[in-house]
Symmetry: C2
Subunit: 317 residues, 2 copies
């Protein structure tokens, strides 16, 4: 029997819907990098994306954890202002992932994935969420992404993230997701793999034809490219001296992007560019420490300062 966290931990949550609803995984990660390792670290695409979005607007999480999920993690989400009415707590173990980064962090090997309570996850949106104007379908099975889309009423903007696993195993469902979203984010290698095109602009045109108005191709340290029928927008990455833990960078980018977009009133290319800057900056802050460590202590002011710094460096006015 699932409980949403407001039942478990009643608090002062407002009744109004959050501006952004994020569905994704909430996980406990074991991470090994060339210089360090961490066990039982708070992870998962929804965790990273919600914290990133929370810098800019109100955000509600849709996810599931087991009864072993540590109370301090719940408190951290709450302190960050994340609305947890959509986080189910069920008997059993929380989703666990472990991975190792090799060389200069370029290569990631998954050591272990234990779905646990995630195996039977059926996202059920609280009443307050179904009118949220901005939806981020963070990286989870496209079947679950569709399940969330079925419950949402008239969203203003829907973004989805995905990964090679779903392209390989659930391309059919993923294509149905694409038909119903405004923006898709994926890695450069995933765009190539899915479409069979080496050229990123051909790959993007192929994906645009499946429905989304924008295709955002992530290229790690090389930044990202936003494709639409209007053309191409180039975005460099915020320059970093050292990366401690790249886990969740894509989720932070997507969360920051949708959060920043929801903070404004317009949805056009200029607004998405500004939102990409915000996403890039939140991701850059995140990867400088393990997991979400750095982001718990950063204030909105710190994020804004780095965005200004980024704009100055690239020469945007």
């Amino acid at each position: 029997m699932a409980n949403s966290l407001t039942q478990c931990l009643p608090g002062g949550r407002p009744l109004n819907p959050p501006r952004v609803v994020v569905v994704g995984s909430v996980a406990m990660d074991d991470i090994v990098t060339p210089t360090a390792c961490r066990s039982n670290q708070l992870g998962g695409s929804a965790s990273y994306a919600c914290v990133a979005a929370s810098f800019f607007t109100s955000v509600g999480m849709v996810g599931i954890v087991g009864s072993d999920f540590p109370a301090p993690f719940v408190q951290r989400f709450r302190r960050a202002g994340v609305d947890l009415r959509g986080l189910q707590v069920v008997p059993g173990k929380t989703f666990r992932w472990s991975g190792v980064y090799e060389k200069n962090m370029d290569i990631r090997r998954t050591l272990k994935t234990e779905l646990n309570v995630f195996a039977d996850f059926q996202p059920a949106l609280p009443e307050a969420y179904i009118h949220a104007p901005f939806i981020l379908l963070a990286n989870i099975s496209p079947r679950l992404q569709l399940h969330v889309l079925d419950q949402i009423r008239n969203p203003r903007f829907v973004a989805a993230d995905t990964m090679n696993l779903w392209i390989q195993t659930e391309a059919h469902h993923l294509r149905r997701v694409l038909a119903r979203i405004d923006l898709l984010t994926l890695n450069e290698s995933e765009a190539r793999e899915w479409t069979g095109y080496e050229s990123l602009s051909r790959a993007a045109r192929r994906l645009l034809a499946m429905g989304p108005r924008w295709i955002l191709i992530k290229r790690g340290e090389q930044g990202s490219r936003l494709f639409s029928t209007q053309g191409l927008a180039l975005m460099p990455a915020y320059p970093l001296e050292s990366v401690k833990d790249p886990t969740g960078a894509g989720d932070l980018f997507a969360g920051g992007l949708v959060g920043r977009l929801a903070q404004g009133n317009r949805i056009d290319e200029a607004a998405i560019r500004r939102a990409m800057q915000a996403g890039s900056v939140v991701a850059s802050l995140g990867v400088e420490q393990f997991g979400l460590e750095r982001l718990w202590s950063v204030k909105r002011m710190g994020v804004d300062a780095r965005i200004r710094d980024f704009r100055r460096m690239v020469g945007w006015r």
Copy 2:
């Protein structure tokens, strides 16, 4: 006995000094890429840099070729408006270089370097060049770069390019060059190798301390970074679908940069940023074909159109 080319091929060259003087190599290259090869291709750092600069301003070449240097190459330079009064023609063979590009063009192996007439090259500047306001010391031995600097009177702006070979073999001379220039361009790996710092900003600070006001670190497909005591400017690369021949990309970038800078009146960070955009665009046009093939046929209008396109993609106003 050296002849300058105005003596060999008198033409309608104006007597006034060119805005930009470029010293570097003029070569005949044999190039092998994964898909094609070319023999006896016009190459060399001065060739690439002069043609790049010629899109924006008047440019004079300082270099040396042998009596085997094909007349059609001379005519092409002239048609591009390159002032050849500083190009010596001497008995013997022209400098020859051959290299092979492997994999996806990332790795370049030099097969052969024959200095030939370049071995005893002593750059001698024609009278008309010594008051040129903009100087580009393209990639040659720092000893020769110093020799040119000794002949120049009160230049307004001096840029120099270099490479790992000179860092390894003539660091002492290179340091003397650095003390006398405004801007140094070099690759990311070269900046790291020279300074011993993995961090690019630490490497740049070390190089800035040697004299130049600006250190421009080239990062290939990842764009470039301009360091000064004012901070960091980030420049993405113009996005390319396919690269046919990366030879000379760095020389084109440096030539386009100094040419564009000389076209304007200001020398400040904003002007250098605009000049970097121009350099990046000229380089992007160049590498789309072998050698200088593409650039012989491109008009200034075509370069400007791509610069506008680049500015729109990055979101610069």
